[in-house]
Symmetry: C2
Subunit: 220 residues, 2 copies
DNA sequence: GTTGATAACTTATCGTTGTTCAGATAAGTG
DNA sequence: CACTTATCTGAACAACGATAAGTTATCAAC
């Protein structure tokens, strides 16, 4: 006996209140994505949880992926805010850099779906699509799927501030920023992509990678 | 007009020659995976390219994912051979480690498709089951999906050799190996996944990351 | 309070997916 | 020849994302 609705039907929204339903869909989809993963979360499950029929979702989103992208942008705002907070704290630029790196890692591990979609769902080698990922150095803000690139740009700017504060970099700021990000990304990507691997110690790896990249990029 | 076979039908294999068909399936699947990606490559497309019906694939593979796992194992085998060659060269363990790292990076950049298949084609975090990637710490050799762990063990052993040669490690050999691999993977993954990004300088990034991880893991 | 427009929503259905099942065919053996 | 069995096929299943066409509720205007 399958296919029965498990949730109570939600009453029809009033005129002009459609955005309410849209938010409900996002909320339900987020819960399911995080619980079951992207593939296992079906349009029908989301709709059932909201209390509407499956095609109703298409009134608010072009397709399934658009729901994920909306969630991605929504949560990536948190990362940008977090980095903005750290940038305003009265810390040395070196410590700021390290904390931003840690915030980046924590964010990736706490929002693996969003992280994967933005930084790892990139193109197959033949590059059929051009979704997500930071592709251009100066992306237009507000476009769906570009908030991750904005966050990356913050890291680049932060490194330039470090250099301006008198700490010598072992590489040019661009190269240093790229190496820094690559290291952090390698950690997050590895942990996300291989969650069942018996990693030695997650916290030691996080601290170790932060040491690795900061010491490797900044000169003592 | 869809569903028509585009390839000529392949004749039935003789008894005991099933492995031949298995290889054909792997070859066709690899080409399609690289061209279209995992999701877009359907069982029926693979079967059509081989010249056989779709259910025939299930004589040789448990499911679609098993095909991917077999391909990943092939890639890992290539890597293990490369590392084995370097291990036999008359070099100091420190230099061996660096050359293995460089070999890993070069391998990834020269075979981006295979690398992507093996290390980056992971799906959303929750659903990663037994596709490529290194999974168990002490896998039985020859088992599908375990060659990645073997390659990883090579790195661990290499680090233990470094330690035995009197060079102190900043972390335990497992943690050090994981950090090392994460850094290298971050570089390769970033370059592969964002080929259109205006990276500062590829060779400088490669050398920089090698310095980063070796100096970060080994103490001077 | 009836009407008309339309936002909000449903039912039915399409084409495709991975996978299974029952059977057919051909190859090798005694 | 008969028998076994590896190899392979056609039909079908349940579930998927998505679409088409029709229905219902809401609100403004008269």
């Amino acid at each position: 006996m399958a296919g029965f609705s498990t949730a109570a039907a939600s009453p029809r929204k009033r005129r002009g209140e459609g955005h309410t339903r849209r938010d409900e869909i996002l909320q339900a989809a987020k819960k399911l994505f995080l619980q079951e993963g992207y593939e296992a979360t079906t349009i029908r499950k989301i709709a059932d949880r909201v209390g509407v029929s499956a095609p109703a979702l298409y009134l608010y989103f072009a397709d399934k992926e658009a729901i994920m992208v909306a969630l991605c942008d929504q949560t990536f705002g948190f990362l940008i805010d977090k980095i903005g907070e750290i940038e305003q704290q009265p810390l040395g630029p070196r410590e700021q850099l390290r904390r931003c790196g840690e915030a980046y890692i924590r964010f990736g591990l706490e929002h693996p779906q969003e992280y994967w979609l933005t930084f790892m769902s990139g193109n197959t080698p033949k590059q059929i699509k051009s979704q997500g990922g930071h592709r251009a150095r100066n992306p237009e803000a507000g476009q769906p799927g570009t908030t991750g690139a904005i966050a990356f740009q913050h890291v680049v700017d932060l490194l330039k501030n470090v250099e301006a504060a008198g700490i010598k970099l072992n590489y040019g700021p661009e190269t240093a920023a790229e190496l820094l990000w690559m290291g952090l990304h390698g950690l997050v990507a590895a942990l996300i992509n291989n969650p069942e691997f018996e990693w030695s110690n997650r916290e030691e790896l996080i601290g170790g990678m932060l040491d690795l990249v900061t010491k490797g990029v900044l000169s003592d």
